[in-house]
């Protein structure tokens, strides 16, 4: 596939520049002074618990919600001052599945291409290319209602690309999909990224996915940007080399506090039930300490395993809570 849009390579300006952006709803601050930039061709993952301000940030970026203060530039175009130019440079794949189930795949794409003002001859070339790209060329006339969730997502990804944007914005593209479709969608995104050298901004709940796909990760919590770096650097930034997942029984009510008080332990995250994930500077010493603690308190260790730190630990470290809490 050689239809990748020309990247402004000589251009050193960022693809996305978010500059001291604030969004206020009455007295509630949904996004609080966030600044970051994304280089052309980069994939940035936006992570945060529900209500952290991810969606508001994306909605400001996609011109759906007015910015209270600060500015967002997309390849130099201010989304507030020149929204139509900004709209042409981004393809948006919203969280909700919005393709029309009673229209065919091709009709869905064609209508959006027309909304973006793509001329007829370009439409005729681009739509088959996109269908090829998302592996749906043989189903172009199928009604979207007859497709699986993963296929529908792929239709929407293709729809977001009908006007050949430089930036692709995806809001939780795999939420609500079954595990097979999830893998399907992320493989598709990796493929597109390689083919088209797009700048991608993606929000997700799934750390493993973010880890695999994103060049850098921004963690947002309570409207503020709390961390921004590559997955590897973020994992290194968490004090503690490894993590212990342990399950106990017959524990006291303040067991989590007891574990947290052990030497070398940096964070303790409840995994539900009687299981905890403990990030520590010294896995050996902490394992011994846990055994002693259990013996002293007459608790039983049902299972115990040592792993390396993941982005989940990074998230817990920066926000003080689990992503799904």
């Amino acid at each position: 596939m050689s239809a990748a849009p020309a990247l402004p390579l000589a251009d050193t300006q960022p693809a996305i520049l978010i500059d001291h952006v604030v969004k206020q709803y009455g007295s509630f601050t949904a996004v609080n002074d966030v600044s970051l930039s994304v280089a052309p061709g980069e994939t940035l993952g936006l992570l945060g618990p529900n209500g952290a301000g991810k969606s508001t940030l994306i909605r400001m970026l996609t011109t759906l919600v007015p910015i209270t203060s600060g500015r967002i530039l997309l390849h130099g175009d201010d989304v507030t001052r020149d929204p139509d130019r900004a709209r042409l440079s981004i393809g948006v794949i919203p969280q909700a599945m919005t393709s029309d189930t009673d229209l065919s795949i091709e009709e869905n794409l064609s209508i959006y291409a027309k909304l973006y003002g793509v001329p007829r001859d370009v439409r005729k070339r681009v739509i088959p290319e996109l269908l090829e790209l998302v592996n749906l060329a043989d189903r172009r006339d199928s009604l979207v209602g007859t497709l699986s969730g993963g296929m529908r997502r792929r239709v929407e990804i293709a729809r977001g690309l009908v006007h050949s944007p430089l930036i692709l914005v995806l809001d939780e593209p795999t939420t609500g999909l079954d595990p097979v479709s999830r893998v399907d969608v992320w493989e598709m995104l990796t493929h597109i990224k390689r083919e088209r050298q797009l700048t991608i901004l993606v929000t997700t709940h799934y750390m493993d996915e973010a880890d695999r796909l994103c060049d850098r990760i921004a963690i947002v919590d309570r409207g503020k940007l709390v961390a921004l770096d590559t997955p590897r650097a973020l994992k290194h930034s968490v004090p503690g080399a490894s993590a212990i997942e342990a399950q106990f029984s017959n524990v006291r009510g303040d067991w989590e506090t007891c574990i947290g008080a052990l030497p070398d332990v940096t964070t303790v995250q409840s995994l539900g039930g009687d299981a905890w994930r403990i990030v520590t500077e010294d896995a050996g010493a902490t394992t011994m300490a846990l055994a002693e603690l259990a013996l002293r308190e007459r608790a039983v260790i049902r299972s115990l395993g040592v792993t390396s730190t993941t982005l989940d630990d990074v998230f817990v470290y920066y926000t003080g809570r689990g992503l799904h809490q």
Binding site: R59, P83, D84, P94, T98, D100, L103, I111
Partner: protein, 370 residues
């Protein structure tokens, strides 16, 4: 302005793919026409009437005979002889007869003596329609008591001789314009209002807003699509209804063209009104609730099912600004009076102005952001 067309294309493709909307919006008005058109406004017939002749004189007998002749003549009344007033009154009360005529003793004597004879009429006044019809039918019969006298030299009563300009209009035909209007209104309610809010809730709307479409293009696209849908249902209800009600004159090409023009203007006026109403709404349940309110507020006072002249003055204020009024009036003139388009120009002018105001307001009210 070109970005309005993909919106229209999407809406109309969906409209064709899911004929359930069309069927629903056709079914309800046609059902209305068939059921209500036959249920109301027909002549009341087969009314059981107790006849009590306590006089037995010649004048009383003439009255009884003419009541019996009403049965022969159209079967309006079915007389049943009763022996006394008490039994007759009891049966009127329990509903086995709808009324009773009582000719008191000395009735004939008073007729001949010119002493203001009165015959009693017992009515079940809980049913205004039936008792009204009975009173009308029986008062004529009672008059016949005076017949047989030599004809008076001077005409005592002046009568009005009505000249009917148009052929007799059964109630079903009277209802037809209202039913066509209702069909168009239902289409914009479901295919304009509800589908817009469903799109908004599903996030389809967000999809539009991230493209460079303008407010005007978006609202215009939705209005054109809604208008086309209403024109399709309006025309289909008009054709079906005209066949059912037997208004064949409407199929003359020029009259049909005039009808189409009116249907287009009415559809646009309704769609613009709907678009103005839902511009700021988010909850798709609201128009469902609103439908009943609007139906009562706009359809009933419009003259669609009962003459506007019967309304109290405060209701007539609604009638004056109600687009239904002009739609119903225009359609009635075209369908039942066979008039040409220039007769309905005032209706068309009002509806066009109404549509323009509503459309401008809906563009102004529409928000380009979430």
């Amino acid at each position: 302005m070109t970005r309005a067309w993909p919106i229209v294309e999407r809406e109309l493709r969906k409209f064709i793919r899911t004929p359930v909307l069309l069927v629903m919006t056709l079914f309800m008005p046609v059902l209305n026409l068939v059921v209500l058109g036959n249920a109301f406004g027909g002549r009341v017939r087969h009314l059981n009437v107790a006849v009590v002749d306590e006089d037995g004189g010649p004048a009383a007998r003439r009255v009884v005979e003419s009541i019996y002749s009403l049965q022969m003549n159209g079967d309006v009344v079915r007389p049943i002889r009763y022996a006394n007033e008490r039994e007759a009154a009891r049966d009127v009360r329990d509903g086995s007869v709808q009324g009773a005529v009582v000719l008191p003793p000395n009735f004939s004597r008073r007729v001949y003596a010119g002493e203001n004879p009165t015959a009693g009429l017992l009515l079940d006044n809980t049913d205004a329609v039936v008792s009204g019809a009975l009173q009308g039918a029986l008062s004529g019969a009672v008059q016949s008591a005076a017949r047989g006298d030599p004809a008076p030299r001077i005409v005592k009563a002046v009568t009005l001789a009505p000249v009917e300009l148009f052929p007799f209009v059964p109630y079903m035909r009277y209802m037809l314009p209202g039913v066509i209007t209702l069909g168009m209104f239902m289409t914009v309610m479901i295919g304009g209002g509800m589908s817009y809010l469903d799109d908004k809730q599903r996030g389809v709307h967000e999809g539009y807003l991230v493209t460079p479409i303008t407010k005007l293009e978006l609202v215009l696209g939705q209005n054109i699509a809604g208008t086309v849908k209403a024109v399709v249902t309006g025309t289909m209800v008009a054709i079906l209804g005209a066949v059912i009600a037997g208004v064949y004159g409407v199929f003359e090409p020029l009259r049909f063209l005039a009808l189409l023009v009116l249907i287009v203007v009415v559809s646009f006026a309704f769609m613009a009104m709907m678009s103005c109403l839902v511009a700021r709404m988010d909850n798709p349940m609201l128009p469902r609730a609103l439908f009943g309110v609007m139906n009562t507020l706009l359809y009933f006072p419009s003259g669609a099912i009962y003459p506007v002249q019967s309304l109290p003055s405060w209701l007539r204020w609604i009638t004056r600004v109600d687009p239904f009024t002009y739609a119903v009036h225009g359609l009635r003139v075209l369908l039942l009076k066979g008039a040409s388009l220039n007769v309905v120009l005032p209706d068309v002018a009002f509806l066009a102005a109404f549509a323009a105001v509503m459309f401008a307001s809906s563009v102004a009210l529409f928000r380009r952001t979430l």
